[in-house]
């Protein structure tokens, strides 16, 4: 009995050493997991805008009227620019709209004018589509954006 426990103790002592190989295995697996996760990580981004009526106004300065563009977001998801439909609901990147907006922006920049975009979203239009429009505006580097939802409840 005593002899047996002695043998057990000796075996335990022999296994007490730090095993480097399994540790490397585990570290490799954890690293692979994080490497894969790094590619699919979702990062929160933001589309900044300024609500009207709060910006400091300079009434004494003579201001040049900006080029106003009306962008419509219909309930169906169609996007219009000055009442002309450019992209249907299934075109998420809004390629035609973005290209048209970039051209208008470039034209206004050449003349030294500002571009003011008013988004008129129908009440039941999806917010996702409004964000698509804002994303296109960010792509075309248009900063002056105002919102109108519904018929007369502009904001």
């Amino acid at each position: 009995m005593r002899k047996g426990s002695h043998r057990q103790l000796a075996a335990d002592e022999a296994n007490m050493g730090f095993q480097i190989a399994p540790m490397i295995d585990v570290v490799f697996v954890i690293m692979l997991f994080f490497m894969v996760m790094a590619g699919a990580v979702k990062v929160e981004r933001e589309l900044k805008t300024q609500l009207p009526g709060m910006a400091p106004s300079t009434p004494t300065e003579e201001k040049e009227m900006p080029d106003e563009i009306i962008v419509g977001v219909e309930e169906s998801g169609a996007v219009t620019l000055n009442e002309e439909e450019l992209d249907p609901a299934d075109n998420k990147p809004l390629t035609n709209f973005t290209n048209a907006l970039s051209r208008l922006k470039q034209d206004a920049d050449n003349r030294g004018a500002k571009v003011l975009v008013t988004i008129q979203a129908e009440e039941q239009a999806k917010y996702e589509r409004v964000i698509d429009v804002l994303n296109s505006l960010a792509k075309a580097r248009v900063a002056n954006v105002t919102f109108t939802v519904g018929s007369d409840q502009g904001f």
């Binding site: 490397i24 690293m31 994080f34 996760m37 790094a38 929160e44 981004r45 589309l47 919102f147």
Partner: protein, 145 residues
């Protein structure tokens, strides 16, 4: 010179210690870039995707608050902080006004579900405007994976 690679005539030995160092550094790197950007948003909200939106800078978090707009059973659920405000928008105006008064550079992020009707977001913008806050931003994701 006594250096890595063992003796001069024998085969170079595999050095386990530097390898572990490198592995751990890589591990920490990948852990930090994944965990630092874990989204802390309402699970009921599925944010829309905007690939060209700017990255959020984490420096200004003290000066900002988030209004979450979820959409459940054809009804918008508006949350600011941990409280629901959809039935008490005047209360939300007061709360935001107070925040703006205490911190003049206070800004609001609107985190709306992608299915929310635009009119609900307009209501939230209206509330934020009434509170005297002009600096707002819309939250979106960089990808939809």
């Amino acid at each position: 010179m006594a250096g890595g690679g063992g003796g001069g005539d024998g085969e170079p030995e595999f050095q386990i210690a530097p390898m572990i160092d490198v592995l751990l550094v890589l591990l920490i790197f990948f852990m930090s870039i994944t965990s630092a950007q874990v989204l802390q948003i309402d699970k009921d909200i599925k944010l829309p995707v905007a690939t060209d939106a700017k990255k959020k800078d984490g420096k200004n978090q003290i000066n900002e608050g988030a209004v979450n707009v979820a959409y459940k059973a054809n009804k918008a659920a508006i949350k600011f902080g941990s409280l629901s405000w959809e039935d008490n928008l005047e209360g939300l105006v007061e709360r935001l006004t107070e925040m703006k008064r205490n911190n003049p550079s206070y800004r609001v992020i609107i985190r709306g579900d992608r299915t929310v009707p635009a009119v609900e977001i307009q209501k939230v913008m209206n509330v934020i405007g009434q509170a005297g806050i002009d600096d707002i931003s819309f939250s979106a994701l960089n990808n939809d994976n």
